[in-house]
Symmetry: C2
Subunit: 287 residues, 2 copies
């Protein structure tokens, strides 16, 4: 039976470890690390995410401010807001909560964020640094959290066969780049992939982020594999399930639960990114 990779415990540890750098930033410049969140409309899921981020930020002493806009906001109005936040020396990180209304030019908004304030790590500049094999100051939070979980489990990444199922910009693609940068042999799978069960069975490390409930079946998992389930699917009965059938735990060596696996790590990484940016802005060394 797989060892459970507990994201709540590791997320808490990650947040606790930020106390030192946060104190150092405070001492150096007299203000805490600060994250500005832009929230458009009243999507219930977005409200939950933002509330969750706010709670964690408060706990550790990161100043999180939510800037709310109505659904009818224009791209131009958001760009003005981002421009102000870019210019505000007291703001370390900027996050635009997605999804945005259909009439907003998402790319224009995202690309307007100063790459040095890109708390989510989604800016092409930061993604490009990752794609070039470098280490951007910030990297996308969910895959960064997955990497921490894999490392924490003591799983060898160097030389491992890693299979990533799903190629979204916010999870699958940066996940593949991070695993490649850590010397794994990486296979990117997606909806056009044939022989997925076979590829999946060859994975020492399997990361699944496609948003399909219990898509990965027990016999698709290699004995002893590390299985990271990024899925968060709400079923009609209200329950929350991952992309991986829990039965896979009978074969996996380590496996994340849903909920309580990747989710808590994502929030922790967002705040870790914010603190890293604040340390850079404040000129604090050795974070």
């Amino acid at each position: 039976m797989a060892t459970v990779l507990d994201g709540k415990v590791l997320g808490r540890k990650t947040l606790d470890a930020l106390a030192g750098p946060i104190a150092a930033v405070r001492e150096k410049r007299g203000s805490p690390p600060a994250l500005a969140v832009i929230l458009v409309g009243s999507n219930p899921a977005s409200e939950v995410y933002v509330r969750n981020k706010t709670r964690r930020a408060e706990e550790i002493g990161v100043d999180l401010t939510v800037h709310r806009f109505p659904d009818a906001v224009t791209t131009g109005e958001l760009l003005v807001m981002i421009g102000k936040l870019n210019d505000n020396a007291l703001v370390d990180g900027i996050l635009v909560q997605t999804p945005l209304p259909a009439h907003i030019e998402v790319d224009a908004v995202m690309h307007a964020i100063d790459p040095n304030k890109d708390a989510d790590g989604f800016h092409p500049w930061n993604l490009g640094m990752l794609a070039a094999g470098g280490s951007p100051i910030v990297a996308p939070c969910t895959p960064k959290g997955c990497m921490e979980l894999i490392r924490h489990a003591g799983v060898r990444i160097d030389g491992a066969n890693a299979v990533v199922v799903g190629r979204s910009t916010i999870v699958g693609r940066p996940m593949g780049l991070m695993l490649l940068n850590a010397n794994a042999t990486v296979t990117m799978c997606h909806s056009h992939t044939s022989h997925l069960p076979e590829l999946s069975r060859g994975a020492d490390i399997l990361v699944v982020a496609i948003g399909r409930p219990h898509f990965i079946r027990e016999d698709w998992v290699k004995e002893g594999a590390c299985v990271i389930d990024v899925g968060m699917n709400r079923l009609s009965d209200g329950s929350l399930v991952g992309d991986v059938d829990p039965a896979c735990a009978s074969r996996a060596g380590v496996m994340t639960p849903v909920p309580g696996g990747v989710g808590p790590m994502t929030v922790a990484m967002l705040l870790a990114n914010t603190v890293a940016l604040a340390a850079m802005h404040a000129g604090v060394e050795e974070v």
Copy 2:
């Protein structure tokens, strides 16, 4: 026996197809597409590359200017030059010929190039757009040339198993991203990969860019595969050989020769990038 994928012929066709857009740019603004090449020192290989680019540019009517600097040039002096070229409205593309002397801060130089003049497609912004699944105006020339060769051969990329051997920033990494964006299942292999022969044998499309003479052996190639050899290795007897053993042609369906495969496509793609940038700068539609 594999069909030979002739890069000289396809490169020539690609260059010929630029005549229309070049004329349109000339007509619109009264000056041709212009590429500035920064060349430091007197590396013999670099001299050959630059001469080759210059010849092709002249043939098709792209204005290529070489800015030469001595080995002792400083990073700061190169940054001043790049700043001038960025500001010069008559310059469409900027290319810094590598390798640069060890004392130069390569990243600082490369990142200083305006992403809208990044003829080589190496800037993190453009690489990031590629990593995000988008279509940057310019993309790295060698993998872009490989994609053209694969497409020209009529090989189905969508759903194919593509294996990329080598993970350099200028070839392997962007190659993997382009194949992924074209819906291939992509496996990135490199020096830490175990079971390379097995992975290679599973490839419908095999792209090799590691710089090791005849590294890929006949029995590593799947029957009917498309094999793209990016290697250019100079042997002690002066001959030029690829990373793929020519014997692989007995199993491959299509295969590039070395020389005369990927090489001519790279130069053609550099000029295609330059012309695309010029069209954008001149406001020429429908290129």
